[in-house]
Amino acid sequence: MVLNVKKEFAVQAEALSLGYEDLGSVFWAVRDVHLEIERGSSLCIVGESGSGKTTLGNAIAGLLPPYVRVAGKLVIEGVEVIKDSRVIGANKIRGRIVTKIPQNPATSLNPYVRIEQMFYDVLRDVRGIREKRIAREEISKLVSAVGLEEDVLYMYPHELSGGMSQRVTIALALASKPSIIVADEPTSNLDAYLKGHIVRLIRDLSDKFGISLVVITHDISITEVVCKDMVVMFLGEIVERGHVKDIIRAPLHPYSSELIEAVNLESASYKPKKYAGGCVYHARCPHASNECLKPPPLLKLSDGREVKCWRQAR
């Protein structure tokens, strides 16, 4: 069933900043982010650990912790989730409009509950399906959609292999019939061998059910398979944005190049220096100059391409 894609946005973020409060001071994990994801589209948020990508993904999924500090605006499927420096709408979207596929499937499933029961719970609480017969039909559809056999339902999480538990979490995410799915590092806990399979599965299912997809990853190699658009994040800021194909073919920001080189295990190491203000990537950048001590402007190029780098400003 393919949804008629209207020009409404699934996700809209404007000057969004997300921080964590800790006894008085605030650590801003995400700073001044602008984002627009069209309905039915797919976006990859790429960055290493500490880039803020997980925080941003959690914000979209409505999963921010109570001690978070926010600024700016975040609208999910028309619902105002973050406004006026407060989180207001998270409860409305969490688990219903947006679901998340967690990073580590093994620890995300309750070890005391059979897989079947997990599905019953979701169907009952989110979709109000209480009749066992109808629920069972739904569950069968979901299980076969992710390519699992029905006997998985009678197992406990520890009896499943890595690939199987990841597919179970995908099926559970689909069970709520969400409009958006946030996949948090879907390949990080899997053997390299299964990466292609899981990533294609997520892609195909999103297309099939017309779900907007947000994929958080540190591995830029999967973006070509799974997403149309991409944002590259470093230390809380978006440093480049555009279509996946364009960025992979011709990356503009040096960090994007570093990520691409890392796929072939070729990037050499630079000694990390202290952040001294200005461009966030300055300390690691092989092309850094004195200019970079000032924060670079955001350059909007054609076709939705954006980059934050002094070298491009010239």
Binding site: S161, A192, G196, H197, R200, I220, S221, L265, S269
Partner: protein, 307 residues
Amino acid sequence: MKPVLSVREVWVEFRLATGSPRVKKSVHALRGVNFDVFEREVYGIVGASGSGKSTLLKVIMGFIKPSMGTIEIDGINLLKVDRETRKSIIKKIGYVSQNPLTAVDPRFKVKDIIAEPLKAAGVPKSDIVKILPTLIEAVGLTPEVMELLPYELSLGMLQRVVIARAIAAKPRVLLLDEPTSALDSVTQSHITVLLRELRELFGYTSVLVSHDLRVVSRLADKLAIMLAGLILEEGLVADVLNRPLHPYTQALIDSLKLKEMKEVLVADPRVCPYYTNCTQRLEEKCRVLPPLVELSNTRKVRCWLYA
């Protein structure tokens, strides 16, 4: 030339916990593994989780006792000698594990973590103080980290510390168990480059185990493919990658391009482990486990297509 490390017919059995005490279910993590590692050689093993590759390293380190087989270092069988001799040999094995957080004592400063093997080797304190800065630099860190505690370092830096500790006492054999798997892509690249550099500089005899074919192909001289406790193919790295013989090897190489792959679920231990997924299987023949065939001095494969 005699090998530094020689592994012969190692079998490891794990008893599974079942409901009733009478029903004994066991699973073989390793089924008759054989290989040799020569001086200054890096022997790479690629396999999925559950293939037995980590178990193999743990057996060499002495963490797990095999039900059968021999592990020889410089001709001495670790499983047959007395405890004292075994301890003195295992002392000379460097070990890098997957998760840097559990590999170090969270209450030890970096300098004490790296100094431990030197202490164990009886190196006097005055010498240790001189050796430490060299080691720190060799793994790409700055001397300030010596006074820090593990929680103050990033995962990448911590893994460097673990590597420094492994090479501190000039080990006879270096074992690396998935050294990059817990790190993000950029850090994986950095650590791989570091291991390359160390290999050029020191040339330790090593066994490198990973589920990631890219890492092993960058660092190893020889490559072995493991599945379900068995070696399915072995050869020089370039050889295996350019001319893969076993269908599973071909599948692993294809998976690098993120092609659609079916998960390998191994069922019956009497059958070839790749039976369910193999596109080239010979129906009747492949129901029997093929033997490991030596096609040449440096090429082995376990497949009926070549037997």
